[in-house]
C-alpha cells in the first residue's frame, strides 16, 4: 500500500464481480487519496476494465462496497456517480455516432456541473481544445478514425467535470509523439487537481503520470505501490510470463 497523501477519495472494499458462473473480480481492496494518479497494468482478461466498470457503476458489484468522497456509492447508478465527479472513458470507444464531435462532448458538458448555455459551450470547446479536436469539431462522429474516437472519449469525460478520471487504454496505438502529447494533456489535468486511475499496457507512458502502480491478474490485485517495485514483484513477473507488459 502506498502512503496516502491527501484525504481519501475512493475506497473499494472486498469488491467481487461475477458474470453468471464466471468470477471476474474477487476480493479487490483499493484505496486512493485525492490528487493521486494511479496506473493499472495486468495481462489481458485480468479484470481491469471490469474493475473500472464496477467503480463507474456500469456494472453492479456482486459483493463489496465502494465509497467515493466518503459516501457509499455501491447502489448509486452510473449517471449519479458521474454527477459526483466519477467519470470514465471506454476501452472500446462508444461515440454517439449520429452526432458531431462537438455535440458528443456537449452532451457531457450540459449534463454535469449545472452549467448554463454559454458555460457549457465554453467547457465543450475547452475539452475539445485540450484533446486537440477543435479542427474536427463539426465532423460526424461515425466518420472519425479510431485514434480520434479515443480522444473523443477523453474529451467527453473532461467535459463532464471529473474529480476522478477513469481512463481505459486511451493510449494504445499511439506514436511516440502522440503518446507524449497525451501525457502532457493528462499532466495538465492532474495539475488541476483531478485524480486519475489509468489502465494502460504501455508501462513507460503510464509511469510518466502514475506515481503508484497496481497490477491485476485473474480478478485480483497482486501488487500495489511504487512502480519499480511492482514491476519487479515476483507475482507480476510470473503473471506476465508468456505475455509481456510492453
Amino acid at each position: 500500500m502506498a502512503e496516502t497523501a491527501g484525504p481519501i477519495l475512493l475506497e473499494a472494499k472486498g469488491v467481487a464481480k461475477r458474470f453468471g458462473a464466471l468470477q471476474v473480480l474477487s476480493g479487490v481492496n483499493f484505496t486512493m487519496s485525492q490528487g493521486e494518479a494511479v496506473g493499472i497494468v495486468g495481462p489481458n482478461g485480468a479484470g481491469k476494465t471490469t474493475f473500472l466498470s464496477v467503480l463507474s457503476g456500469a456494472h453492479a458489484a456482486s459483493e463489496g462496497r465502494i465509497a467515493f468522497f466518503g459516501k457509499d456509492i455501491t447502489a448509486i447508478p452510473a449517471m449519479q456517480r458521474c454527477h459526483m465527479g466519477l467519470v470514465r472513458t471506454h476501452q472500446v470507444p462508444r461515440p454517439f455516432s449520429g452526432m458531431t464531435v462537438f455535440e458528443n462532448v456537449h452532451v457531457a458538458a450540459v449534463h454535469n456541473g449545472g452549467r448554463g448555455r454559454e458555460a457549457a459551450y465554453q467547457a465543450t470547446l475547452e475539452a475539445l481544445d485540450l484533446c486537440g479536436m477543435l479542427a474536427i469539431a463539426n465532423r460526424q462522429a461515425d466518420t472519425i478514425g479510431l485514434l480520434d474516437r479515443k480522444r473523443l472519449e477523453l474529451a467527453r469525460a473532461l467535459a463532464a467535470d471529473p474529480k476522478l478520471l477513469l481512463l481505459d487504454e486511451i493510449g494504445g496505438g499511439l506514436t511516440e509523439s502522440e503518446a507524449e502529447e497525451l501525457v502532457q494533456t493528462i499532466s495538465k489535468l492532474t495539475a488541476r487537481g483531478i485524480s486519475v486511475i489509468w489502465i494502460e499496457h504501455i508501462v513507460h507512458v503510464l509511469l510518466k503520470i502514475a506515481r503508484r502502480l497496481i497490477c491485476m491478474d485473474a480478478g485480483r490485485i497482486i501488487a500495489d505501490g511504487d512502480p519499480q517495485a511492482v514491476m519487479s514483484h515476483p507475482e507480476v513477473v510470473k503473471a506476465y510470463l508468456g505475455g509481456s507488459p510492453e
Binding site: 447508478p77 458521474c82 462508444r94 454517439f96 458531431t100 458528443n104 456537449h106 449534463h111 481544445d129 469539431a137
Partner: protein, 332 residues
Amino acid sequence: MTTTNLTSFRIERWTTASVVAVCLCVAAIVALAIAPAVLGAGAVDRLTALFIYIVLAAMWNALAGYGGLVSIGQQLFFGLGAYFTIRIANLGVDPFIAMAFGAIVTTVIAYPVGRFMLKLKGGEFAIGMWVLAELAHLLVNLDTLIQGETGTSLISLNAYDIGLRRNLIYWLALATMAGLLSALFFLLRSRTGAAIQAIRDSEEAAASLGVDAIRTKRLIFVIAAGGIAAAGALWLASAISFQPKTYFSVQWTAYMIFMVLVGGIGKFEGAILGAILFFLIETWFAAAGVWYLIGLGAVALIFSLVLPKGLWGYFADRTGLRLLPVGYVVRE
C-alpha cells in the same frame, strides 16, 4: 499542446436558411389557417388528413429516429385516442372537448405503459408494442358501447353544422400539428434533445456521462404517444365512425415508418417531407387499390436500399442545407 484562443469560436444554431425556413413555415401555417375560406370541402378534408399524417410521421420519427425506440405498435395510441374520445363524448361531453380529453387520458396511460415496455430492448420492444396494441384492440372490443367490430360513431358531432364542423376539425388539426411540431423542435434542440440522441447511439455511454437515460426515454415515449393519440382523436372526428380494427390496425404504424424512411429518419425536415410525399402518393394512386399498397411497399424498399437516409438525408448531405436544425455547428 497549444491552447487556442477559444473566444474566436462561436456556436451556430440558426442559419440564414433556417431563419428563412421558420418564417416560411409560419407564413404557410397562417395561409393554411385562412385557406378554408377559398377551398372546397374535399380539399379541406384532404388537408386535414395531411396534417394528421405529419403529426404521425413526426412522432414516429421522434421515437425511433431520435430516440432509437423502434415500435411497430404505435397504433395502440392512435386507437386509444379515438376510443377514449368516444367514451368521454358518451358521457355527454362536447365532442371537441372529448377529443382533448381522449388524447390526455391516453397520454396519462402511456406513462405506466412506457415504464413497463421500456424495460424491453430492440426487437422485443418493437414487437411487444404490437402485442400490446392487439391486446388493447381486444379489450376495446369488449366495451359494449363499441359493439364489437361493428363499431360506433362520434354522433354528437352531428350537433354541429357540417360546414362549420369540417372547418373546426381542419383548424384543430392544423393547430395540433403546428403546436406539436414546434414543441418537438424546441425539445430536440434542448439539453433533453441532445440526451435523447445520445441514448439512441449508446445508452451506456450516455449514462456514464451523466445522462438520465431512463427518465429521458420515458419522456420521449410519452410525448410520441400523446401526439399519436391526438392524431387518432382528430382522425375519428373527420371520419366520425369508429371501428376498432381500423384504428388499431398495424397499417398506421406501417404508414408512419414509410413516411419517416422515405423522408429521412432522424431528420426533423425528413418526417414532414415524408408525410407530404405519402399524402401525394395516396391522393394520386389510392384508387389503384392493391397496386397502390404494392407500390408503397416497393417505394419503401427502393428507398431503404438506394437512399437509406431518405430524401431529405440525401439532399441535406449533398447541399449542407439545414432548414430546421436541432444540432450545433462550430464557427471560427
